[in-house]
């Protein structure tokens, strides 16, 4: 028998919240990035679940676009992290505080 869509939505919500907590708690910029990926994946799961619940293929097409945006975001973000790590050895986000007033 089929698992109802609301269970998938609960799992997705829990994943999103775990990612948000990780983004707030962790200081390593790379791990923060992984938490962003976690949140994006939770939203993707929500999209696919609603595509099934509402019987509309548009949700799945949107996940495709989300994947593309996530890939672009990872590429640019990792380039930023590389250029930051090249200048200073500290791995934490607290070290990058040039804009503090």
């Amino acid at each position: 028998m089929k698992v109802p869509g609301s269970y998938y939505l609960i799992v997705a919500a829990a994943m999103f919240c775990i990612g948000a907590i990780g983004l707030l708690v962790r200081r390593n910029a790379l791990v923060m990035f992984m938490c962003v990926e976690l949140m994006l994946n939770a939203v993707n799961l929500t999209f696919v679940t609603f595509a099934r619940m509402l019987d509309d293929i548009g949700g799945q097409v949107f996940v495709f676009f989300t994947l593309v945006v996530a890939a672009a975001e990872v590429v640019v973000g990792l380039a930023l992290i590389v250029s930051i790590f090249r200048r200073r050895q500290g791995a934490t986000a607290d070290d990058v505080s040039l804009l503090r007033g």
């Binding site: 028998m1 698992v3 609301s6 998938y8 799992v11 919500a13 829990a14 994943m15 919240c17 775990i18 948000a20 907590i21 707030l24 708690v25 390593n28 790379l30 791990v31 990035f33 992984m34 990926e37 976690l38 994946n41 993707n44 799961l45 696919v48 609603f50 595509a51 099934r52 619940m53 509402l54 019987d55 509309d56 293929i57 548009g58 799945q60 097409v61 495709f64 676009f65 994947l67 945006v69 996530a70 890939a71 672009a72 990872v74 590429v75 640019v76 990792l78 380039a79 930023l80 992290i81 590389v82 250029s83 790590f85 090249r86 200048r87 200073r88 791995a91 934490t92 070290d95 040039l98």
Partner: protein
């Protein structure tokens, strides 16, 4: 049977998510991320999104995580996180905020009913057309213009990554490591610190 698969991979997905947040080393966090991404791919298969499941495994678990591992390996930044907290209230506060977010999401899901057009772009589950064909039909008819813009986005991202990662491309941003040798004062960071 389907319930068993769902429960197993829900536990795996949430456990992997917890591993990403709690792992000391970035490599372990990346491995936990692979577990979560694969579990989400299983969920996609269970809901009939076969194309997206394949793309999820290839692009996310195959490309993005490898990119993370490359950055970890090439930069040699695999040291463990320090446990000392500059802001002592941050961790419990973050957990409280995350819990409130979860409760709020569930509450809104109780209150609001999901609505949508009645399969104006084609059904997601029914019919004997395979999933790849349905996604392709929608992507190349209704979403053709966004699809083309996507290619521009990818080109911009590649060019941006090359510009950012090229060595010595931004000479006006040569700041010193904070705290290590603050005595030598070149660069804007040192100047700002002396102004305080």
């Amino acid at each position: 049977m389907e319930w068993a698969v769902f429960v197993v991979f829900a536990v795996a997905a949430l456990g992997g998510a917890g591993g990403v947040v709690m792992a000391r080393k970035p490599v372990h966090a990346a491995m936990s991320l692979v577990l979560t991404l694969f579990s989400v791919a299983i969920f996609f298969v269970m809901q009939g999104a076969h194309f997206l499941a394949a793309v999820q495994v290839i692009v996310y678990a195959g490309a993005i995580v490898v990119l993370f591992l490359f950055v970890i390996m090439l930069l040699g930044i695999d040291q463990e996180d320090t446990l000392d907290e500059p802001l002592p209230a941050q961790r419990p506060l973050a957990i409280v905020v995350g819990g409130a977010l979860f409760a709020g999401l569930l509450l809104f899901a109780q209150i609001l009913e999901p609505t949508g057009g009645s399969a104006a772009r084609g059904s997601a589950t029914q019919g004997d057309v395979v999933n790849v064909e349905r996604v392709a039909t929608s992507l190349f008819t209704d979403f053709l213009w966004p699809f083309e813009i996507t290619s521009a986005l990818l080109v911009i991202a590649v060019v941006g990554a090359v510009v950012l990662a090229r060595r010595g491309s931004t000479p006006q941003f040569e700041d010193q490591p904070v705290g290590a040798d603050a005595g030598s004062d070149e660069g804007p960071a040192a100047v700002l610190e002396h102004d305080e």
